[in-house]
């Protein structure tokens, strides 16, 4: 079971509270986790990755195990602790005022 935390606005959009738990087929990567997230919650398509380019949206970053994974290749394996469910994969929005 993969644990995913998304920002508050996206939790509202997907109508979920707290963490999301996903069954994800191996390999466990950014791409496979986000594919599974979007399959479960189609309303999130385009909100984390651009619909056309599939690139991470510029004001979002990916963290896990206190590491910034934003610039890791999308098909790189996620840390063992994420794969085992011990740690969540976190999507976080840039902090800004206004």
């Amino acid at each position: 079971m993969i644990r995913v935390i998304v920002p508050q606005h996206l939790r509202t959009l997907a109508q979920v509270r707290g963490e999301v738990e996903l069954d994800v087929d191996s390999p466990i990567t950014q791409r496979s986790v986000l594919d599974a997230l979007e399959a479960r919650y189609p309303m999130l398509r385009g909100t984390i990755r651009d619909q056309i380019t599939q690139q991470r949206r510029p004001f979002l970053r990916f963290f896990a195990c206190e590491e910034d994974l934003s610039h890791e290749p999308p098909d790189a394996p996620l840390p063992d602790a994420v794969r085992s469910g011990a740690e969540p994969f976190i999507v976080i929005g840039a902090i800004a005022g206004g």
């Binding site: 509202t12 959009l13 189609p42 619909q51 949206r57």
Partner: protein, 394 residues
């Protein structure tokens, strides 16, 4: 008894304001989509319960929302809340706005510094539902292009003839971005879905199609913009908004960056009608529901000072189709007021005594139930208002 429903998009959510035909007491619902920029909401003339909304965010991109019950509940078209997930590729992508590069090469446009930049989708500025089919809706987007959905907003296809007009490399963004912000469907021209459509783009100008969107022509003759190298260029003008009365479809009114303009020949030529306005900079322009020669603007001090002049919030009305303007001030603040009124933030209802509505950057939404003679705030303290539309309900 008649009702009116005012749809308000703000920088931090949407609000639905309803009243009976007297338009004195209002019920306020919202915020819907709290925290999101709501660029525009508009109801279908063919089915007033059908409302489309553009929900957008610099973080999370573009979302299209739809209500089928007059704004009580909302969903993303094709993605009903709680619907079972079917394996396989998505059947719809209501927030997918892909430029049609197969039909027309995706050219470049001019950037602020004069260099060329590729087209890149950013957000939907304006949604224009069909007058006859609730499932057909047009979207004006940034970077400027026109999209259409014929399945209730589930899937969108570009009408690439506009972007492919050939002048694209001369289009450039205004301060708000290179947005297609005005869509006018001419009900008198052709049958079924309109063959004649007007659009306006900042900063490219106004365009018209007479064949349902296949081909377009710029309609900017008579515009004079001293801030571009050729002030009378075919394209490059920063048109802020265009309005048309459905009974007089060849007559158009335009609030340009500077100048209020009028066309009597479907945009083929324009004449300035700024007349005695205190300043002819502004964003909104609209037409009385029953008097095609009565028009409204809200003059703004200048392009560098986006607030009303002299600290006075004044709507100006012309009953002569321009040139002669009267200030409407009753009920509006006449001192220490420094708000702006953005291009899609004015609308009229179609009750016997025409109602006029507008929203401000300060979060007020004002209503007049007597065609502008007097005003009262419906709400005073919303987030900054981006758009105001009105539905007149039987």
């Amino acid at each position: 008894m008649s009702q009116v429903r005012v749809l308000v998009g703000t920088r931090k959510g949407a609000f639905v304001l309803t009243s009976d035909g007297k338009r004195e007491k209002w019920d306020v619902s919202g915020p819907h989509f709290a925290g999101w920029e709501m660029y525009h909401l508009k109801g279908s003339p063919a089915d007033p319960n059908r409302i489309y909304a553009s929900q957008t965010s610099g973080w999370y991109g573009q979302i299209i929302q739809r209500s089928d019950d007059g704004g009580k509940t909302w969903h993303q078209p094709g993605t009903p809340a709680g619907a079972p997930v079917v394996p396989g590729p998505p059947k719809s992508a209501s927030n997918k706005f892909a430029y049609d590069a197969s039909a027309r090469p995706l050219t470049t446009h001019q950037w602020y510094d004069g260099t060329q930049r590729p087209w890149e989708f950013k957000r939907v500025w304006h949604l224009e539902p069909s007058r006859t089919d609730p499932d057909t809706v047009y979207a004006g987007v940034e970077d400027a292009a026109l999209f259409r959905s014929t399945d209730g907003g589930e899937n969108w296809k570009e009408l690439p003839g506009l972007r492919g007009h050939g002048t694209g490399p001369k289009w450039q963004p205004g301060a708000g971005g290179m947005c297609l912000h005005t869509i006018i469907l001419d009900p008198s021209f052709g049958s079924g879905e309109p063959q004649r459509i007007y659009v306006a783009i900042s900063a490219a100008g106004a365009f018209r199609t007479d064949d349902g969107g296949a081909t377009w022509k710029p309609i900017n003759r008579g515009l004079y913009s001293q801030y571009i190298p050729d002030p009378r260029a075919e394209v490059g003008h920063c048109v802020h908004h265009v309005a048309m009365h459905p009974q007089r479809p060849n007559v158009l009114f335009m609030q340009k960056h500077w100048d209020v303009m009028r066309s009597n020949d479907a945009g083929d030529s324009w004449q300035e009608v700024s007349g005695n306005l205190p300043t002819d900079f502004g964003f909104v322009i609209d037409v009385h529901a029953h008097e095609p020669e009565t028009i409204y603007v809200v003059p703004i001090k200048s392009d560098s000072e986006h607030f009303v002049p002299d600290g006075k919030l004044r709507v100006f009305r012309s009953r002569t189709g321009g040139n002669e303007w009267e200030p409407l001030t009753k009920g509006l603040p006449q001192s220490n007021c420094y708000v702006n009124v953005l291009r899609d933030a004015m609308a009229v209802d179609s009750l016997d005594e025409c109602g006029v509505y507008f929203g401000t950057s300060g979060g007020q939404v004002y209503a007049s139930a007597d065609a502008g003679d007097s005003w009262a705030p419906i709400v005073r303290d919303l987030p900054g208002v981006l758009s105001v539309e009105v539905q007149t309900l039987a």
